[in-house]
Amino acid sequence: MVIYFVIVNSIAIYLFPGGSLYDSSLTTYSFSENFFSDLGVYETIRGEQNFFACFLFNSTLVMMGFACLSFLFVPRLFKDNKASYICACIGSYIAILSGLSFLGVGLTPADLYFHEHVFFVIVGFRSMVPGLFFLTIAFFLSPVSNKYTTASILFLVSITVYSIFETSNPPETSPRENIELFRETVDYNRMVISVIAQKVIALISFISFFVFTYGFYQLTLLKKH
């Protein structure tokens, strides 16, 4: 799913017509000015149709949301230790909630359903914090190598910092409704930081989930033996 997400979104980035909140004249996707969500908008800031990128980006989020249902099978890997199993159960169910929130993000393009979009983004990221917290404990108490606990702690710290700084003060109105107000209240550099932070946290998430799959695989092997 991670590989699918990267490939499909690379195509979406290529097909995005361009335009950001600070520079509507851009003709391509800008890594420092365009949020990921910009790929999923129905029409760009210039009013151009964004049919292809919109479908590609939103479909990846929907697919990721459904893929998170695979966390239903995670707790059984931690059954050897009761406390670890309970933590894995709690962590997995919260991870599913988080995944379903990202599915919601995919079904609510920011230009059509701004408030719903922001709501799902916030729930998605914030719910990852307790979810990862419990999964970290589950890894810690399990017989699997400590490197997975370390990776989990690093991911938890990153997502907590991101949630505190990037989801604690959500905009009350859509920037598109009043672009001048947005530019007055949000400094250009602050927007660039948000955009880049989003890219970094996405990258950290992908790497972490990739590492976790190896941890889960090791647990499967340990169970067999």
């Binding site: 129905y42 049919f51 292809f52 479908f55 479909s59 929907v62 079904l107 059509l112």
Partner: protein, 234 residues
């Protein structure tokens, strides 16, 4: 493996397609090629591909319907791949096998063209939309035709051969009755209204629905016939 690709995948894709299309219809904001003020989707006045429009004829955003329509068409590619596996079940008769392979390839190409239909909404890429829709239909027809011959020559029960022949006849009737009607870009509302009466529109729409429903029913019932072939194959 055989059961998965030859039975479960075709059945799943048919059910998934129908459910997705039904939900897309419920979420469709409204408007048809001749009546822009229509509210909601009309089974007799709206074409299936209108579900994939970027903006409906009423000018509303059509995000959810288009999204579901595109997802459904992509899932349908699995059905095309399944027909390549299905072809293997006809290996007992060489001629039947060759026709089954040709049929499978044509159906897969047809389904890929139908993905193209969804990726070229009629309000954004009308000429491309018509091109892929017509080619999709032509390849699907050719595929059904080849597969029907394969079924006739195979050990499948005669009822499935009969269904295949009936479907072939329906495809021919559809081509004769609808094929000659010229395609006009609905964005040119005046020309469209001058060319088509509501009766012609309803006729075309209902014929399209009937042919799609028949194709889906064919695929679904066909899998029951394949069950016997799989047992022989195993």
């Amino acid at each position: 493996m055989n059961r998965f690709w030859c039975l479960y995948v075709p059945r799943f894709t048919v059910i998934f397609f129908l459910v997705s299309i039904c939900i897309a219809m419920l979420l469709y904001p409204g408007g048809n090629h001749l009546e822009t003020d229509q509210i909601g989707y009309s089974l007799s006045k709206n074409f299936i591909s209108e579900l994939g429009r970027f903006k409906t004829m009423s000018g509303d955003n059509n995000f959810f319907s288009a999204f579901l329509f595109i997802i459904a068409s992509f899932i349908n590619v699995l059905q095309g791949i399944a027909f390549l596996f299905i072809a293997k079940l006809f290996h007992q008769n060489k001629i039947s096998y060759v026709f089954a392979i040709i049929g499978g390839i044509c159906i897969l190409i047809g389904n890929l063209f139908f993905v193209g239909v969804c990726l070229t909404p009629e309000d954004l890429f009308f000429d491309e939309h018509i091109f892929v829709a017509q080619n999709g239909f032509n390849f699907a027809s050719l595929g059904i035709f080849s597969l029907s011959i394969a079924v006739i020559l195979s050990r499948m029960k005669n009822i499935y051969a009969l269904i295949s022949v009936v479907l072939m006849i329906l495809l021919v009737i559809y081509s004769i009755t609808v094929g000659h009607i010229p395609e006009i870009n609905p964005s040119d509302t005046v020309l469209y209204a001058n060319t088509y009466s509501m009766e012609t529109q309803i006729f075309k729409v209902i014929m399209q629905k009937l042919i799609v429903a028949t194709l889906m029913m064919f695929v679904f019932t066909f899998t029951f016939g394949l069950n016997a072939l799989i047992k022989n194959h195993d």
